[in-house]
Amino acid sequence: METIKDKVAIVGMGCSQFGENWDMSADDMIIDAVYEAYDDAGLGREDIQAVWVGTAFSGIGGICVSGPLKLDRIPITRVENFCATGMETIRNATYAIAAGVYDVVLCIGFEKLKDSGLAGLPAGYTHPVLGVNVTAPGRWAMAATRYFQTYGIDPQEGKKTLARISVKSHYNGARHPKAHLRKEVTIEQVLSAPIIAWPLGLFDCCGNTDGAAAAILTRADMAKSFRDDYVLIKGIGLAIGPSLGKEDASYDYIHLPETEAAAKQAYEQAGITNPRKELDILELHDCFTISELLTLEAIGICPKGKAKEDIDAGTFTLTGELPVNTDGGLKSFGHPIGASGLRECYEVYKQIQGKAELAERQLKDVKLGLSHNQGGHPGSLLPIITILGQAG
């Protein structure tokens, strides 16, 4: 088995405005994201040889993008892997390029959630009995409850740590022009917000957002013909288990074993042995604040049960030791399901290139970053981890 490291490069990316885009259709957002990526890579529609598109609820089949983009008689595949749908496009495209089948591939992720009339996600298939009244915040909240119980953390104290995650994300997102919820919040605001699923309150939950993002991938040895500051794919991990943790009594509800496995795959390919030291930026899938906390432990940044100490100490703020979700993450940037995985790469890509829109958001010397996209819930996770690195 070979590593995927340094075989594929990202040479262009785009991201539409995220938000409640009442005045934009899915097509509008797809066009905005893809044409930004075309311009960024310095190429056009005629250069694209194949497309992977990801959407969870907003379209089916390759025609959902060939129509708006006028793509003509090329292979287009729609993929879906829950909320990990966006990064699944990059994973598939990467392997197609590495196999030597294509030289230039377009990845698109999008979601149009706000036309549904629902405050939450549209219901997919759920079991007519066992799936009744199952909500995403509820499932993550159960992990928070158990985490506090296991480590002897007073729930109010635990909530405060989760609040710090939200405060940090809103601080970062408020500084990104494309983010959905561009507003700073205080710990007091987070703590006093309505409870959605105890112990998670409104500000522990990500936005419900419209948006699209895109990437153009090519062979690493061709990347220089597009630009000097291309970004290399260093490793990709995806790990899905039997997904029975919510029923299985041997699942402890405080670890994310699938995420641990996905990180191990990605680190091995990238040659990372000390992630906390080697990585310069993390984009974590913070659908709920507790997800970010548990992921920090699952990917080896914090020892088990110790994430609270780092979060309380400010380790992951914009000016901290290892910045996390510098664009605001799902919490503040928003979570259009199919687009999020690509957006998580977009931020790392821009940070590596030194091209964050505002200087105060730009980190120094970003060489290696991690983007984490995930679907599911504790005990039933579908995590994808992509390591991105500077060219050369």
Partner: protein, 482 residues
């Protein structure tokens, strides 16, 4: 051949509503005391399952040969309920089940049919279960007077705790209380008429009839247990028939439970049996479309069936329903934000195909590694064995709450939803400290008292009514012990 009651059980919902609170809502007089109120996820079927399981405590469920369900409020007009109760109680498939409905007297009609079945030899042990949750028109006396509950009697010809030594029956036809096929609330004709010509005339006729038939006088009776529509008529009847209300009359529970319709007489009988001693002679009478009466003789075996939650322990375990509005909500008498997301959630083929795990609440026990999983798995998650499993009942196992959330987002008639991960005991796993995980909702709970590691048990409940059908499953709850 002797025939009688082998075991008994009962159930009273945990919620009680003070009649003063109902009176407050309508600015009218209160009858005083409180009534039981079925939780929003309870109906006559779920209450019946509770009583049956209570009745079958420490006995082999495979040994039941029939189940008769009596109620004026079965969940379906067309489709049996006894079959569902038998499945949830995990009785065997080769049994006879029947519903006895429409009459307030259906509880004792089912009892009579069960006696006939055992006497004829068509079954050795037949379960009779009566459950009712009638609704009075809002603001009416009945709304205050009615209560919800159930009782179960196992009838058989061996190990008899209370022999049934005599019976009497007559039929009458009168429109006193009724519901047409489209009525939600019980209707009634004017009190003076229905109580004198309906209840009082028929009940006295039946009790006098059986006393004469067996040459008994009131002093031969240890305890008189009989139906009455309300407290006043109950004591009037006792007086008229010559029973000493202090020593000879079974307390009718109007102040604590209310009139539980078809289940009422049987619930009073269970309460009497809880206190009965060997040698006691019990007069038992019921009214509705005529009346019937029984003479019962308590045996030494009564001591064998003491460990039941029955009436006494269920009465003692209660939560005060804080407002009348909650009652309206529970009974869906106020239009609620529709359960829009449930619309797609009722599929008879799924409920049928998975009835063993959903209704009988079996887990799959792997024959190779011995560990049990719910929902049932064809491929063992622990050892990988394929199709090497057997179904094992989980509904009577004790457990703890491993983790939970108080979910305000999930739609419910009693928000918030306590989503729970339960760890049930797994004694079949042998030495290993293995648990069986169950992902479910918690019911009958005080939200402020929910804590990780608290003890829980399982209870059969209705999940939703979407699509014009009732969908049932199991939930966890704090143990119903005072």
């Amino acid at each position: 051949m002797k025939t009688g009651i082998v075991s008994y059980g009962a159930y009273i919902p945990i919620y009680r509503l003070k009649r003063d609170e109902i009176a407050r809502a309508w600015s009218r007089g209160s009858m005083g005391g409180e009534r039981s109120v079925a939780n929003y996820d309870e109906d006559s079927v779920t209450m019946a399952v509770e009583a049956v399981i209570d009745c079958l405590k420490d006995s082999d469920r495979q040994g039941v040969d029939g189940l008769y369900f009596a109620s004026t409020t079965p969940p379906y007009r067309e489709k049996q309920s006894a079959s569902l109760i038998a499945l949830a109680a995990d009785l065997r498939r080769q049994i006879f089940t029947a519903d006895f409905t429409d009459s307030l007297r259906s509880g004792t009609m089912a009892l009579r049919a069960a006696l006939d079945a055992v006497n004829s030899g068509s079954g050795k042990r037949v379960m009779v279960v009566a459950a009712d949750g009638r609704m009075g028109q809002p603001q009416s006396d009945y709304e205050q007077n009615f209560g919800d509950g159930s009782a179960a009697l196992l009838i058989g010809d061996e190990n008899i705790a209370c022999e049934i030594v005599g019976s009497y029956c007559h039929t009458d036809d009168i429109l006193d209380t009724w519901r047409t096929e489209s009525d939600t609330f019980t209707r009634n004709w004017e009190d003076r008429f229905i109580l004198s010509e309906g209840y009082a005339r028929n009940t006295r006729e039946a009790i006098s009839g059986i006393m004469a038939k067996y040459n008994l006088t009131p002093s031969d009776i240890t305890k008189a247990v009989f139906y009455a529509p309300d407290a006043r008529r109950h004591s009037e009847t006792a007086k008229a028939l010559g029973f000493d209300p202090k020593t000879q009359v079974q307390y009718p529970m109007f102040a604590t439970v209310g009139n539980t319709g078809a289940a009422f007489a049987l619930m009073m009988l269970v309460a009497a049996l809880e206190e009965a001693k060997a040698g006691d002679r019990i007069l038992f009478a019921n009214y509705g479309d005529g009346a019937e009466a029984y003479i019962l003789q308590v045996t030494e075996q009564i001591e064998r069936v003491r460990d039941r939650r029955g009436i006494k322990r269920h009465l003692a375990s209660m939560i005060n329903l804080s407002t009348y509005e909650k009652y309206l909500r529970f009974r869906r008498l106020i239009p609620l934000e529709s359960q829009a997301r449930e619309q797609a959630n009722a599929f008879p083929p799924v409920a049928w195909r998975e009835r063993e795990q959903l209704i009988s609440f079996h887990g799959s026990r792997c024959k190779c590694c011995g560990r049990t999983f719910h929902p049932m798995q064809r491929v063992c998650i622990y050892c990988g064995a394929k199709d090497e499993y057997e179904g094992v009942r989980l509904s009577d196992r004790q457990g703890i709450l491993y983790t939970y959330t108080v979910d305000n987002l999930a739609l419910s008639s009693d928000p918030p939803t306590i989503v729970s991960k339960v760890h049930l005991e797994d004694p079949l796993a042998g030495e290993e400290n293995h648990k069986v995980g169950v992902y479910c909702q918690m019911t009958d709970r005080d939200v402020d008292k929910v804590k990780p590691e608290m003890p829980v048990e399982m209870t059969f409940r209705k999940m939703h009514d979407s699509g014009g059908m009732h969908t049932y499953y199991w939930k966890c709850r704090p143990p119903r012990e005072p």
